[in-house]
Amino acid sequence: MLACALSVLALVGLIVYELVTKSSLSWHAFGWKFFFRSEWDPVNDQFGALPFVYGTLVSSALALLIAVPLAIGVAVYITEMSPRWLRGALAFTTELLAAIPSVIYGLWAIFVLVPLLRQYVQPFLARSLGWTGLFEGPPYGIGMLAAGIILAIMVVPIISSITREVMTAVPQQQREAVLALGETMAVTMVIGNRPEIAKSLFAPGYTMASVIANEFSEATGDVYLSALVEVGLALFIVTIIVNILAQFLVWTVTRGTPARSHA
């Protein structure tokens, strides 16, 4: 039993070790500048992670911007207004949705969401809000906006159940609150996968997780592979920090309020 417990520690140690040693080549070549450069040129061995960091942050922020208000609405409705029978049904649906694999959300996004965006939503946004500069350029469907929306659809159930726990002050179990940052497949399938930084949400982007997913198995050259692992290391550190912060936040909020009766 002790051996099994030790192996949990060993696994995390192993992850850190693998990421640090395998990325050292890129770290020595580029240093801190790696995170502020936007070239990604495997042919000349020049690598910078800025477009991926940008893509990850913007797509996650967009997802939260869409998902949080909706999730709070859902949580308020379930805890304060809904009839009892509906509460159970909604909780069950939430559970079911969390079980759908990311690749299936991606499949749906490619064949349903993206055409919808291309034909109706993007032309409308361009007409009404084009002046902001956020909704410019040709409406491909695929791009940052599509990634943000599919992520929002995926995180709403989790955010609403966390909100419910906080509202009723009965935390049931810890959850992965930072699904959005490390989410790979669905985003890879619709974000367009181009290492560019553009103001318009119609433009294609690239996230840290997607660049690893797309290029890792084809990466020739040691520096190239090492740069991809370094992107992974950065993603690892960011998710761990956000995860711990989120757990701490839920923990302080739920501990600070007295338990309410109609839970």
Binding site: M1, L107, I212, F216, S217
Partner: protein
Amino acid sequence: MPENMMIPPDFADAPISIWRRSLNSLVTLAAIGAVILVLLPLGAVFGYLIYKGIGSINWDFLTQIPKPPGEPGGGMANAIGGSVYILLIASTFGVPLGIGAGIYLSEYGRGTRFGNLVRFTADVLNGVPSIIVGIVAYGLVVLSQGHFSALAGGVALAIMMVPTITRTTEEMLLLVPQAVREAAYGLGVSRWRTTLSITLRTATSGVITGVMLAFARVAGETAPLLFTAFGNQYWNWKMNQPTAALSLQIFTYAISPFDEWHRQAWAGALILIVLIVASVGAVRLVASRGMLKGAN
């Protein structure tokens, strides 16, 4: 609500202002609107999956291996088999390790500093993005074997199963009343024997729930398999060879330019979701009968 008691009798019958009433209905409307906005795409995901999937599943799909790109026909039999194979490898490593660590946390490491460290680490492991687990399995297995393999895919998924199983096993064992353990000690049963044949036995259905949850969670994982199991257009039952998986096949087919492959991607997605929903359903069935024998 208590605030009714605070209103002096003179005002109790006073009409609630129109402003407050309309604000109340506005918030209610907004909340209902949010529920609808959330349920709509989610319903659409399921609806499409069933609608497109059922129309695309046929006998060939379940029994044939893929045809070359552009040719009609063919199926995903090797991917379905490959997924089962990889999941078996993952469970072989992940389940005993997870249960063992869970037993340690509840029976030996309760309240100790080391126990807390392991618990915290398991939670950290739970939050590691799956693509990163893929990188680690690549470094561990693929590099040392020299090629992509079913084993590498299994190891990646096993790493993802461990934290879920550990934490649920721990929580289930903690539900077993201390008196049950003491009764066993009183009969002269040794500690390890008590843990295995009394405590673990009592919490069996709860532990199985945890295992099934972990299984459902990794069954559809794609990212950690991309550069470990890698995928294969043919059958493979060798541990050290690239192996097809349902989730990988769905991904490859979905981003391909062929209509025939798109159709098969939907069919594969439906099979995958049926597999997952069946295991989540089994969990609910077990859970509804109580996590513990007699103690719930």
